[in-house]
Every structure is written in structure tokens, then in C-alpha cells.
Amino acid sequence: MFEAIAFYTFSAVTIAMFTITVMSKNALYAMSALAAGMIMISGFFFLLDADFLGVVQIIVYTGAVMAFYAFGMMFFNTTRLVKENIRAPKLVFLLSGMSALLLVVALVAPIVSDHIEPFYPVVEGVENPQAVGIVLFTKYLVPFELAAVMLLVAMIAGIILAGKKMDESLTLKVDGEDEFQNKGSK
């Protein structure tokens, strides 16, 4: 019963939050709602016994990714309402609705069959983080390392893109160095 209550609560809140994200004209609303939705999704993961994934969702998505967004939004004017020239709104909903319908069909289809065999079965008596670790560092080691490298590259790219002249400290300069630099620039 608890599971059902939790599931329906989470579903309702997530859907509501994401709808706000998609429909709101205020970027800050959208961002806050998205963050809230992410937290709710971690709730789903806890329901699904994927504790580690849930925590990762909170730490990485909510704690880092959305914070990044928020930080980025500080560069943009967030208090102003977002003006968007939205064309053919009905088409949008039609397209999305159709896709959703077909997706549901496509997703539910394999459930009818029972040909699915677990590839990496969950071992009884092993806690989720441990099980995840075992699979992650054996079968998925190479993708894991690749993901790590990709993150590193992305981080460096982000720094380089967003931060120009980051190596200059405005406060650490010795007196007179400023003048010298100005002269040099002239």
C-alpha cells in the first residue's frame, strides 16, 4: 500500500512539476520545478530498490546539474519573463501525444512476451551499491572510464568556454602593476 501511495504521489508531483517546467513563462519557475521533479524521480529510484542510483540522482542531477543551470541562469536575466514566439501549438501537442501513445505501445509490448532473460541478474543478499559496483567495474569498466574522460573533457570545455581571463586575479595585483599593464596595452 505504501508503495502505491508513494508511487502515485511521486507520479503526480513529477508530472505536475515537469508540466510547469515545460509550460511556464518564467525561467526561474521552470528551473525550480525541474529541480523538484528531479528529486521526485530519485524517489522513484528508491522505490525501485535502486538506492545508489537514487542518491546519484540527488547528488549529480539535483546537486550539480541543476545548480549548474541555476548558475548559468545568473548570467541571463531571469526575472524577466521569457518571450517566446510559439507557432502552431496544437501541432506540438498532437505530435507529442502521438509519440507518447506509440511509446507506451512500444514499451508495453515486450511485457507481453516473457523471452527476456536477465543478463546480469541481481544477486540475492548483496546490497545495491555493492552490486552496482561489481557490474560497473567488470562488464562496464571501459564505458565507465570513457564516461569519466568525457566528463573531464566536458568540464575543461565548460571552463574554457565560459571563463575567459580566468587566470588573472584582479585583487592579487601589486600596486603599480595595473598601470604597467595599462601602459603595455597602449
Binding site: F44, L48, F52, V135, A157
Partner: protein
């Protein structure tokens, strides 16, 4: 009793919401928000399948999706900031310099 179908349907609905956002939004930042919704919707589906079939592969994929999303944000946001510094707007309709 909550079954796999429940989760998958929620996942599909969330995905659909994300799609609406992707089609509808003109502001790049909000567009990226919508893609995050798409990714998360898929994550739920993966985790659910993983649970109900007792297979960890689904969770693995969810992890990698999280990693991809994180790097996407780092690069994407950097690009946005550069773009905003130059143009003062993030409207998709303003970026048509590559049109044929």
C-alpha cells in the same frame, strides 16, 4: 500492486511532457531543461525494467545517462553563456545564421 507497466506509463508520460517542451520551447535554456526531462523519463524506464527483470544493465544505462547529462550541461551552458554575451538573447529563432 504497482507493476512494470505503471512505471513505463509514467515514464512515457514524462517523456511526452519533455517532447512537448522540446517542440514548444524557443528559449535555449528551457529547451535544454526539456531535454533533461526526456533523459530522466528514460531513466525511470530503465530503472523499472532493471528492477522487474532483476537485471542491473538498466541501472548501468541510467548511470551513463546521468554522466552524459552532466557533461552536456557543462559544455552546453558554456556555449550558452558565450552566445548570450555576444547576442544578448537565447532565442532559437535568433540563431539562423546557418540557414541555406
Amino acid at each position: 500492486m504497482i507493476t512494470l507497466s505503471h512505471y513505463l506509463i509514467v515514464s512515457a508520460i514524462l517523456f511526452c511532457i519533455g517532447l512537448v517542451g522540446v517542440y514548444r520551447r524557443k528559449n535555449l535554456l528551457l529547451l535544454l531543461f526539456s531535454t533533461e526531462i526526456l533523459l530522466n523519463a528514460v531513466n525511470i524506464g530503465f530503472a523499472a525494467v532493471s528492477k522487474f527483470y532483476g537485471d542491473l544493465t538498466g541501472q548501468m544505462f541510467a548511470f551513463f545517462i546521468v554522466a552524459v547529462a552532466a557533461s552536456e550541461v557543462a559544455v552546453g551552458l558554456g556555449l550558452f553563456i558565450v552566445w548570450y554575451k555576444r547576442r544578448g538573447t537565447l532565442d532559437v529563432d535568433s540563431m539562423q545564421s546557418m540557414h541555406g
